[in-house]
Symmetry: C2
Subunit: 285 residues, 2 copies
Amino acid sequence: MKIGLECIPCFVRQAYEAVRFVTDDQKSRERIVKQVLFRMANESFDKTPPSVGGDIHRIVRCLSGERDPYLEIKKDSNELAMRLMPSFKAHIRSSPDPFETALRLAIAGNVIDSAQGDRISEQVIQDAVSQSLDQSISKDIINELREQIGKATHILYLGDNAGEIVFDRLLIEELDGCHITFAVRGAPILNDALIDDARMAGLDTLVEVVDNGSDVPGTILEECSDDFRRSFMDTDLVIAKGQGNYETLGEEQKKIFFLLQAKCPVIARDIGCEQGDMAIVKKGC
Amino acid sequence: MKIGLECIPCFVRQAYEAVRFVTDDQKSRERIVKQVLFRMANESFDKTPPSVGGDIHRIVRCLSGERDPYLEIKKDSNELAMRLMPSFKAHIRSSPDPFETALRLAIAGNVIDSAQGDRISEQVIQDAVSQSLDQSISKDIINELREQIGKATHILYLGDNAGEIVFDRLLIEELDGCHITFAVRGAPILNDALIDDARMAGLDTLVEVVDNGSDVPGTILEECSDDFRRSFMDTDLVIAKGQGNYETLGEEQKKIFFLLQAKCPVIARDIGCEQGDMAIVKKGC
């Protein structure tokens, strides 16, 4: 999925927000934002949004010398989500359809996204959970995912953000008996989850955790490691979280279920839903 | 008042919105937005927001060949405001303090601002009027303005946007007996009022109407015509509408009352009010 013209102001906003994390010096902030503007002026509009986002945040990291600007935010998100986990787990256990409830919670967790703005609060998470539990989602697609999971010999689960992966863990705990590989990004980008975040969420004690070898906020296969690409090619089912994975893998010839909140109008239009909706999108089935 | 870093995403959004008015061709839109990004990457952060805004919209007009992209919007705003005028005039006439009511309406009219986004609706105007009539504004500053108007031998009234100038007319009608010059911009910029808009609002039948000779969405004196600069220097009281005039004249050694809605956080911070507030700011008194 290519970037739209309306992505441009959003990218510049992201750059502005990112520089506030990396330096307090106004002149340095200006220098970085100007470099981002210069890059954007020379960017190809045939790229996907995560590809352009990767370029922008690489400039912010490179010029500031901050390897992982969102490290503290990621830690806070993980801790907040871990603190909320027991109550969500109890909710799943007591619900008539634990798989569907866990699935809806995993989608709700996608609200934890630094590309969209400020730090996440408990209230924002609780609101997203309520929305996701109440929102009308086709029973057919939920049952199809349930069926495909039952048939799969191996599932590749592509995570998205720190904090969110605690919600992914809740879903993965409901997939008992499945052979699952959980993949995170290969290097810092926004608040996207890395291996350390997967460990904080305890995912490494449940399933195999790998990184994809790339610092893009999505999954551009050509930029991923050989090992990750092989895992992607060999798996019979992919569950992919978040907008970035949808934007980069939406046209792959592969059985993929995308679980995401459609946070921006460009994505919502592409999916055919309302902005802000919790969505399951299947491709290649 | 210099631009802040947070103005940058806002300028890029403005450019994105402006190109949608000037061409339907996606490639042309990309070309213009990229040229704006390139310009922004090389822009001085010592400039005022209207100076940078002027640069951006000059690029949009120049590359698209559209001399006045907001012409239709300006016409619609004037017509809408003229249609609403009789009821507002009746409200002023029946109020215990017609001057204060007209003043509050003139401030409310500043909501009609294409720099802030989409076309204006009747509901947005009615909401702004209700807000402005109800909002707490210091009686002292209102009475000081009333007193200064009473004492002035000449008032230079700097307009801002099309549509809004119909609300300015309502205030000017309450200043019967004053010698007033009403100034508009010298060439198309956003939805800022030009001579034609002043005529549509009937201002030319009430007071002298001049243009300032500049295409900047504010009043940068060095860029204005000699005639306008002389009028500014010679007048004993300036009433200046909108953010652009505040941003460009806030540091002039002149008796100026700024009437505006503080639409962005940068302005609100500078004034010391909440974003969205209707404000009267006096300088040089």
